[in-house]
């Protein structure tokens, strides 16, 4: 190996890449501008949709209640919705989103309440529809209040304390440290994002540098030089790795900025948006920063593995198109274990520590939670390094094969 030649090839490839519009788009523009723009647009659109939904009080139909004028009047006085008499085709109207929900007040409801009886109030809604959900929420709030008040009156009549109907309370309290909570919420998402980005980052340069050069005829020019094939492969590999890591860094930076900015915009808005930004706001700062450093260290050999595999495939292909055909389905292959790492119950063990991609995904979940299972981390780092080295060796070996270099 000749370091001078490797660096010569690397520097040339870097200069070439920085002059290539497509590389610049995939390396800087996509992660730094387009992705956050999409996120921001999506966030703003969601915010406005939720705000609009809240601003328009849902129209709710009432069935029955003729013999319960007080309940109906109280319901009518509620500011959260507009009450109308349910028409005959109320079911169709809910399905057509003209009515958000219909509440059925049973016959003799008020009488039943006064006589300490029991009754059933039915709410008809459109499952999964946002505005219908709001209407149901408002109705539940009203009838829960009514139930509480009725119960309190009944207890009072019988001279019974409030605790009679509520012998004990159930309270949940989180004892996990905030990093662990954050780790569990976002721990699966972060490696998923890093793994995906480090893979998508290698695709274009790997295809361009091997299959592309083969197709354009520049690879043969390069092979005429006295530089060893090992140096040429290493130089090209370093460039692919650089692009991949730059893509990851740009994406992370821009996403953090846009998440924080988006969170500020959405904070205090509608219920859903508030929940979203609230979760992000609560969990993001509570991730263990040292754990994040650990994540980056673990993702490094994985990026090496991706770069080497993508280069190898690209080298095997005759044309850029062929290389794209081979590499594109790999995104799914890479994503599956990364997604599996987010599933509940899939925990880090010695066997899973050897499964490439999945092991890093699982370890990252632990790391951002502040846990450092050293034995398994060593196993994961070691095995990923081994896979990366094997893939790189395979790439170098393939680069020495005439049948691959001059495949036409």
């Amino acid at each position: 190996m000749n370091l001078r030649d490797t660096l010569t090839v690397y520097r040339k490839e870097l200069r070439d890449a920085l002059r290539d519009r497509r590389t610049l788009i995939s390396m800087f523009l996509m992660p730094a501008v387009i992705m956050p723009a999409i996120l921001l647009l999506f966030g703003t659109a969601t915010y406005h949709v939720v705000k609009k939904a809240h601003a328009q009080p849902p129209v709710i139909g009432v069935l029955g209640g003729v013999d319960s004028p007080a309940v109906k009047a109280a319901l009518n006085a509620q500011p959260g919705f507009v009450l109308v008499a349910a028409p005959d085709d109320w079911r169709e109207r809910i399905a057509d989103k003209r009515l958000r929900a219909v509440v059925e007040i049973p016959a003799n409801f008020e009488a039943s309440l006064a006589a300490s009886g029991s009754a059933e109030v039915k709410i008809f809604h459109y499952e999964g529809e946002l505005k219908s959900g709001f209407a149901v929420g408002e109705l539940r709030k009203f009838f829960t209040g009514l139930r509480e008040r009725t119960l309190a009156e009944r207890l009072k009549t019988r001279d019974l304390p409030a605790s009679f109907a509520r012998p004990f309370e159930i309270r949940t309290e989180n004892v996990a440290p905030p990093e662990k909570v954050g780790g569990n919420t976002f721990g699966g998402f972060i490696p998923y994002l890093l793994i995906l980005l480090s893979f998508t980052g290698v695709i274009y340069p790997a295809i361009d540098l091997m299959a592309g050069e083969k197709e354009r005829g520049t690879l043969e020019t390069l092979l005429c030089s006295p530089a060893s094939r090992l140096d040429i492969v290493l130089g090209k590999f370093l460039l692919v790795l650089t692009v991949s890591l730059t893509t990851v860094a740009c994406s992370l930076l821009s996403m953090t900025v846009s998440l924080l900015a988006g969170g500020l915009v959405m904070l205090g808005s509608g219920r859903m948006a508030a929940q979203l930004s609230g979760a992000a706001g609560a969990a993001l700062p509570s991730l263990d920063p040292l754990g994040l450093v650990g994540v980056v260290i673990l993702v490094l050999p994985l990026a090496v593995l991706f770069a080497a595999v993508a280069l190898m495939i690209s080298l095997f292909a005759r044309t850029q198109k062929e290389a794209q055909t081979y590499i594109a389905p790999l995104v799914a292959v890479v994503l599956l274990p990364a997604v599996a790492g987010m599933l509940p119950g899939v925990e880090l063990g010695s066997a899973l520590a050897l499964v490439p991609v999945l092991n890093v995904a699982l370890a990252c979940k632990e790391l951002v939670s502040g846990a450092w299972p050293w034995t398994q981390l060593a196993l994961i780092f070691g095995s990923t390094c081994f896979y990366a080295a094997a893939a790189l060796a395979g790439c170098v070996r393939m680069f020495s094969r005439e049948s691959v270099l001059f495949r036409t």
């Binding site: 040339k12 002059r19 354009r216 020019t221 005429c224 030089s225 049948s403 001059f406």
Partner: protein, 247 residues
Amino acid sequence: MIQARNLTKVFRHKKRGEIRAVDNVSFACEPGKIYGLLGANGAGKTTTLRLLATLLAPTGGDAVVAGFDVSTHPAHVRARVGFLAASTALYGRLTARETIAYFGRLNGLDDERIASRTAQLSAELGMEEFLDRRVDTFSTGMKQKTSIARTLVHDPEVLILDEPTLGLDVMAARGIVRFVRECRSRGKTVIYSTHIMSEVEKLCDRVGIIHGGKLLAEGTLGELRERHGEHDLEEIFVKVAGGEAIA
């Protein structure tokens, strides 16, 4: 100096089986001479030249180029060879100066030497005007000049030229022919493959006719004319190649 002895290259193809692209080819080319390798498409010219340039490894036989065996010292051979082919393209996003510097560096030249060679080559080839422009904006002639400069940056003693005029217009092709003559006059060993008879007649001191991977005839143009009783090189070529095809 190029010395090929029983040079053989066999490709194994899944469907077509064993293909002897180069079959026991022997010839020699001396410094200050141009050896023309004449053959139809698929005759084995490119494979022979790729073996000499160490892009491919021979299956049998051997070749010594600039004093080094192509099988045992490929890097030494490449450092002393300039290889130019229709298939050796340039990087579109580099300038001509950067291209020359890149290949100079890969050939072990230091920055000072690269600068002096670039100045010398650009003056000789008339490249000053476009030296700092990107190759993807070049005309065919400019590209060809840049390719020549790239080939010569390390001042190689042997030049291997594989159909260098393929796809070029008349002016660019004439430029190549002139450049090859100049290389000969500077004492370089030149091997030149083509299927264009007129180029062989204009340039070559010795000619080898290759067909089906075999070197079927070899000699100076005069010797070949005398041996085959024909003056026209095309007739000689058809006689040699066609005879083999019938047999």
